[in-house]
């Protein structure tokens, strides 16, 4: 029997297999307009470099698991901490990869990347007066305490670092209101400051001392600053502050009985806050004097990592599950009745609406 033809066929098959397996997939053009619907920023599994940004359009019930890898052929990086939109661009802050990635929000194609030795565990970006203000944790000491945290002032035109603004250790969330940028110093619950930065020159104007663990900030319809403090490690209560953005006076202070989660959302109209204590979700009008009763309790044993509210008043609750599975965003109507859900990437950490 002549085995030569069979041998040749096997050889060609092996060669084809090698060629096929050696090829990397090309990026794909998405058919959707990403500037409608909502985005969910997902940290990814720590140390695995698989941060993603999920897109979902409730009206057409369409979603894209990860806009970034679809457009660029690879994941954005490690531990996506936040996404900030500014002047037709979106900026992804990758805490584990120590970089800031600029993408075109319509295609999610990467356009610029900022890497620098000073980007040592960056967290959140706020933009005002043409400058970006990026909170950076800085290095740990040998006992994993933060020792040198700061805010970097960036020129958004060139994406270059202009200035380093020293803060107390653990500066985290950032929010721009008018010509000021507010930087919350959380430091794993042991910080209690909100640093006020003049956005035009990057100088610290004031430092507000609030309560332990400033964990989330939003601006309401009157551009008032709301700060949620969720207490130190082991705390059993928290506080919610309303602060005048110009005078910096504390206008209102709401005691929270029970340790709130570190997430807070505000409705697009800016008149309703969403916070949670454990799995209990509270909807708080900005003119309320107290927290009131919870609207609903998220069923099961969720690991809530982000909250959101859309223009129709629907409440979005992100569940990171075991921090290794893909997460889920649960959608509730204004009465707190579940009306849908959305599969996300690993550890959903921020919900953004268009």
């Amino acid at each position: 029997m002549n085995y030569l033809p069979l041998f040749k066929k096997c050889l060609w098959a092996a060669l084809a297999l090698i060629v096929i397996t050696a090829c990397d997939p090309d990026p794909i053009q998405s058919p959707y307009d990403y500037t409608e619907g909502l985005w969910v920023a997902n940290q990814g599994a720590f140390g695995s470099g698989n941060a993603t940004v999920t897109w979902y359009h409730p009206a057409i019930n369409a979603s894209v698991e990860d806009m970034f890898s679809l457009a660029n052929g690879a994941f954005a990086g490690d531990v996506l901490q936040s996404v900030t939109r500014y002047q037709g661009k979106a900026y992804l802050v990758l805490n584990g990869s120590n970089k800031l990635v600029e993408v075109d929000p319509t295609t999610f194609r990467e356009s610029r990347v900022l890497t620098h030795v000073q980007l040592d565990k960056p967290n959140h970006l706020a933009v005002a007066e043409g400058f970006g203000y990026l909170s950076v944790w800085g290095p740990y000491d040998e006992y994993y305490s933060l020792t040198d945290s700061y805010v970097l002032q960036l020129d958004m035109a060139t994406l270059e670092i202009v200035k380093k603004i020293e803060t107390a250790p653990g500066v985290d969330k950032m929010l721009a209101i008018g010509s000021r940028v507010f930087a919350a110093v959380n430091n794993f619950g042991s910080g209690n400051q909100v640093v006020v930065i003049n956005a035009a020159d990057g100088e610290i104007e004031d430092t507000l001392e609030l309560s332990d663990g400033p964990a989330a900030m939003v601006a309401d319809a009157q551009n008032k600053l709301w700060v949620l403090c969720n207490g130190a490690w082991g705390a059993t209560s928290g506080k919610l502050f309303r602060i005048h953005p110009v005078s910096l006076e504390i206008e209102q202070e709401i005691e929270i009985s029970g340790k709130p989660g570190g997430q807070m959302a505000i409705s697009p109209s800016g008149d309703v806050l969403v916070i949670r204590i454990g799995a209990r979700v509270f909807v708080v009008p900005t003119d309320a004097q107290t927290l009131g009763d919870e609207l609903f309790t998220v069923p099961g044993s969720p690991t809530i990592t982000a909250l959101g509210m859309d223009a129709q008043g629907k409440i979005y609750v992100a569940d990171a599950k075991d921090y290794s599975s893909v997460g889920e965003v649960l959608i509730f109507n204004q009465e707190g009745t579940p009306v849908g859900s959305l599969s996300t990437g690993i550890v959903p950490t921020q919900i953004l609406f268009w």
Binding site: G47, N50, G77, D78, G96, S97, N98, S301, A320, V326
Partner: protein, 625 residues
């Protein structure tokens, strides 16, 4: 024709009776019992894979994980080139494979893993892998199997010097010296290994930052025999490593560093008599790990005693072992937690002629703080068909195995739980082995159920260890080995394939969606192939590893799955005599297909690269008897 077949079949059936009739004239030989059997001989019916010593000698400065991955279907979760490498054997986790050096467990008792990247292949003389449970012999952690390591075992006088130079500033040097003086044999091994490790990241314009490492160490073996059947052996291994932790692909900025230093000392006194052998061993293991600065040290004193003697036509081995652990990890606080662990074990093996062997083992561990299960093992091998150069064997075993919670599981501040139960498994396997001259074909089926799987999960804001899951790992394996000689050329071929399904079958109420999911980093399909040929001092050697798609998160998302890969190395070597010495030079191409692949998500591995190795051997070594 049909009648002929019936006659032939009748003849075959009559054969045993005919043979039995002849047995009255046969001289009955008394069975001779050999004392000092290796532990694996008490694992009759188990899957044992011995690593070819030639492969170890030509390991090219590789660590043991890199060598094993090309020799058998085993997967390593490797966090970058030369970085942390944890073994996954038969669908289990890296904490569920025991690694023993000269009989002493090397598992880091704080986190339960063994980092194979800290185990340079040239530091060992014998490597044997027991696939499948072996807790009855090897104690805690041997659920997926056990890797058994021995010191280099040449007798002197001998000197071997090896130097390799590789891409990306990787250099490795080793020196083996064996001498014998006044009846005492000495074997010293020194090694040094360093790498810049700044390889171009495949598919990127960047070079890998922050992945340099340096390791050095020594292994000292001493052996002497005294009068009255006494023998003394002392083994000491020191290993030091300092490395930059390779960050996730595309990451920049400052990174982590890690320093490891280990001392392992074991002294063994054996007295062999005609009827029995007794052994007494004392040892100390000291593991230091400093991640970004703070140093944690886990120390362990151990004492073992054993008796081996013939009993009821077979061999009986009785053993007692005691371990005293101290975990000086900064997070544990002071005083450092201590644990007492003790084991009582018996092993028995008996053969009936040359066709049937049985072994039965039983072990009862004792760990301070919780009750441990009794661990039986029953295995057998039957060879129903045996001719000159040909045989067919059936083998199998059933065993119960366990893994004690680690010190982190029990003592991590605020979340460690002293009430954790040990992981307990029940496993079985069976297979067929067909040997025809120098060719062997083996097929086997395995199954194992692990209960009380310990998992760290977020509860509120805290990650807490819990006995959460049940996992069933099952599959089958086929392996062929061929040794062939033709026209002065010697060829050795190994082909292996394993199908491994490792599914979560029980989970906590809040993670029911994980039931039926494949464990992370456990490929359904894995395989290996190697081919070695030598002819008149020339040698060609190629090794290949294949792993199918691997899920990297618990719910098996396709988006995050790593695609399958096949990588291989090819080397050419030339050996020639030089005065009384033998010199060998080898050139190797690694990842010859320049494949882009990852063994752990986000951690780059180099594309095609090269290595050159020169070995100088004075006096041909002879293996210890």
């Amino acid at each position: 024709m049909k009648l002929l077949r019936l006659v032939y079949l009748g003849g075959l059936l009559a054969c045993p009776f005919a043979l039995r009739a002849q047995s009255t004239d046969t001289l009955q030989l008394k069975e001779v019992t050999v004392l000092g059997m290796s532990p694996t001989q008490y694992l009759e019916g188990a899957t044992l894979r011995k690593l070819d010593s030639t492969r170890l000698e030509n390991a090219w400065g590789r660590h043991l994980g890199e060598v094993l991955a090309t020799q058998m279907p085993v997967y390593f979760r490797t966090y970058g080139n030369g970085m942390l490498a944890g073994i996954s054997l038969r669908g289990t986790s890296p904490q569920q494979t025991a690694v023993l050096w000269n009989g002493v467990s090397l598992q880091n008792l704080s986190h339960g893993q063994v980092d194979f990247s800290l185990m340079p292949a040239m530091a060992f003389g014998e490597v044997e892998v027991v696939a499948g449970g072996g807790s009855s012999l090897f104690g805690s952690g041997a659920i997926g199997g056990a890797v058994l390591l021995g010191s280099p075992n040449y007798s002197g006088p001998m000197l071997r010097l090896t130097q390799s130079v590789e891409s990306f500033g990787r250099y490795q040097s080793s020196l083996h010296v064996a001498t014998e003086h006044a009846g005492v044999q000495w074997l010293s091994t020194l090694y040094h290994h360093q790498a810049e490790n700044n390889f171009p990241i495949p598919g990127s314009q960047l070079r890998q930052p922050h992945a340099a490492f340096r390791q050095y160490g020594m292994v000292q073996h001493m052996h002497t025999k005294g009068p009255g059947g006494y023998a003394l052996e002392v083994d000491y291994w020191y290993h030091w490593a300092d490395r930059e932790i390779q960050p996730v692909e595309g990451s920049t900025g400052p990174g982590d560093t890690q320093r490891d230093a280990s001392h392992r000392l074991i002294a063994s006194l054996q007295k062999k008599e005609n009827t029995h052998a007794t052994t007494f061993r004392l040892g100390y293991v000291h593991d230091l790990l400093a991640f970004n600065g703070p140093r944690g040290v886990v120390g362990r004193w151990l004492a073992q005693t054993s008796l081996e003697r013939p009993w009821w036509g077979g061999n009986l081995h009785l053993q007692g072992e005691w371990n005293h652990l101290t975990g000086r990890i900064p997070e544990y606080g002071t005083p450092p937690p201590t644990e007492q662990r003790a084991d009582l074990a018996l092993a028995y093996r008996r053969g009936w002629g040359q066709s049937f062997d049985v072994s039965f083992n039983l072990r009862q561990p004792f760990v301070s703080g919780f009750s441990s299960p009794m661990l039986p093992y029953l295995g057998a091998r039957w060879t129903p068909w045996q001719r000159v150069g040909r045989s067919l064997s059936v083998r199998g075993n059933v065993a119960r195995n366990f893994r004690a919670p680690t010190l982190n599981d029990r003592y991590w501040p605020e979340v460690g739980r002293l009430d954790l139960r040990p992981e307990v498994s029940l496993g079985a396997e069976g297979g067929l082995v067909l040997a025809i001259k120098n060719h062997t074909l083996e097929a086997l089926r395995f199954w194992q159920r692990v209960d009380d799987w310990i998992q760290w999960t977020p509860i509120g804001n805290r990650w807490t260890p819990e006995n959460l899951r049940q996992v069933v790992a099952e599959g089958w394996e086929i392996r062929g080995v061929s040794n062939f000689q033709w026209a002065g050329m010697r060829m050795h071929t190994v082909l292996g394939y394993q199908f491994t399904q490792s599914l979560i079958t029980r989970a906590a109420p809040y993670e029911q969606q994980l039931i039926g999911k494949q464990l992370m980093y456990t490929p359904l399909h894995s395989g290996n192939a190697s081919w070695q040929a030598s002819w008149k001092g020339w040698g060609v050697d190629t090794h290949w590893q294949y792993a199918g798609k691997r899920y990297t998160n618990t719910d098996n998302s396709e988006l995050f799955a790593l695609p399958g890969f096949m990588v291989g190395d090819v080397s050419v070597s030339r050996r020639w005599p030089l005065c009384k010495a033998r010199t060998q030079a080898s050139f190797q191409i690694r990842n010859v297909l320049n494949h882009r692949y990852q063994l752990y998500a986000g951690r780059a591995l180099p594309g095609r690269h090269y290595a050159l190795q020169i070995q100088f051997l004075l006096n041909t070594p002879s293996k210890k008897p």
